[in-house]
Symmetry: none
């Protein structure tokens, strides 16, 4: 049986009619979801399974949510998003003081929470910008350019080394792994799909723009990376792989 490779969330809220619909929503949007209705159950789950992020209601019976959050922040690396009832500034301060990575006030829209979850996962785990797409290796050639995965080296047609950043490297790797395929922004960020064009994360646009400036002959009229409106970007030239 294949393992569920989606990011694993733990939703902690005692209100069934908030917890369960939210879990279903997140499941439908690319996440594996486990739920808990109090701090004790949450701790148990955290011990039993690998959790990538916790969505935590501060108002749970028994041990306070803030207490659990403080514990997680001090003793683990698991990021936390707090659900708070009040939107007062004090809450924000408190929330961040106890180590939460983000917070959102109730009532909240599921979509906004989804966006924040992805945002935090990207910031914290940064699994996306860390490495390269699975199974990539060797040397890639396109239009005279040479891109060595292992060495993290990019050379232009003249053989000159072009300095690339971590993000450049990851982006270029992803494009070269899927040439001629339209990649949406989520995919380019290495995240699960499902974000609606409501809360936009324009980070990718900027990163693509910066990569274009480094490799496109004319960044104003890109020939390698083209834009597909409402969808994302495509790598448009042929890529050959050398061992």
């Amino acid at each position: 049986m294949m393992a569920d490779q989606r990011p694993h969330l733990l939703v902690v809220d005692d209100a069934f009619d908030i917890r369960e619909p939210l879990a279903k929503f997140l499941d439908k949007n690319g996440f594996r979801v486990t739920t808990a209705e109090n701090a004790a159950a949450a701790r148990s789950r955290l011990n039993a399974e690998k959790i990538d992020l916790v969505v935590l209601d501060v108002m749970i019976p028994g041990e306070d949510g803030l207490s659990l959050c403080r514990y997680l922040s001090a003793n683990t690396a698991v990021p936390v998003i707090l659900l708070t009832a009040l939107s007062e500034e004090t809450d924000r301060v408190v929330g961040l003081e106890v180590g939460a990575d983000d917070y959102i006030t109730k009532p909240f829209s599921q979509r906004e929470l989804l966006a924040r979850i992805k945002n935090v996962l990207r910031r914290v785990g940064d699994a996306a910008t860390a490495g390269k797409p699975e199974g990539m290796d060797g040397t890639y050639l396109f239009e005279g350019w040479t891109f060595k995965i292992g060495e993290r080296e990019l050379r232009n047609p003249d053989g000159v080394l072009v300095p690339i950043t971590t993000v450049d490297f990851y982006l270029l790797s992803t494009f070269l792994a899927y040439p001629k395929d339209v990649l949406d922004r989520d995919k380019l960020l290495g995240l699960a799909h499902g974000m609606q064009p409501d809360i936009f994360d324009r980070t990718i646009d900027l990163q693509v723009s910066r990569l274009r400036r480094k490799i496109e002959p004319d960044p104003k009229a890109p020939t390698y990376i083209k834009t597909v409106r409402n969808k994302g970007y495509v790598w448009c030239t042929d890529v050959t792989q050398a061992p």
Copy 2:
């Protein structure tokens, strides 16, 4: 068993003699249809199945339609078309305020609702302008022009690169995939068939017009893309395919 791939609509109306005929009509016109007679049933359906669009009567017993609409807008990405009894301007404002994507006043023509459904699906999903027709690839030649699918490049007979937008690309791809075939507007939009010549969506006309301006020697007297009155458009010149 093959899955039903048609867009899935949820029709919410308590009046049997409106709900059922409408469901039948929409089914015959290219949609999978599920019905519900109140908000609770609608929520249940929405949780159980993947719904692409909700047609919602605001005057339903129990929970108000506007309330359900507001909920959907805040917590899901499912687009909503409201059925309202009054045609007053206030209704329009209210409808859009609660997050409806469109609205239509009763009594309404089924054809008009059909047109609006397609319109909203196109706006929201925008699957049409996404990529290229299935299985297309390689290079197409016509009258000296060169169109490379993979590279998303169009060159005129002089070999000069002609910049094309995402829509241009999709339209041209579709035409070249079906030369000499009359394509109706639904087909060109990439939507299911069945729209009657009642409420026209003139979007395609404009897009064709814009494409003509880029490729026709004389856009006033088009030779490549010709108009077929009451039907659609045809690609009229020979197309050869190079590898």
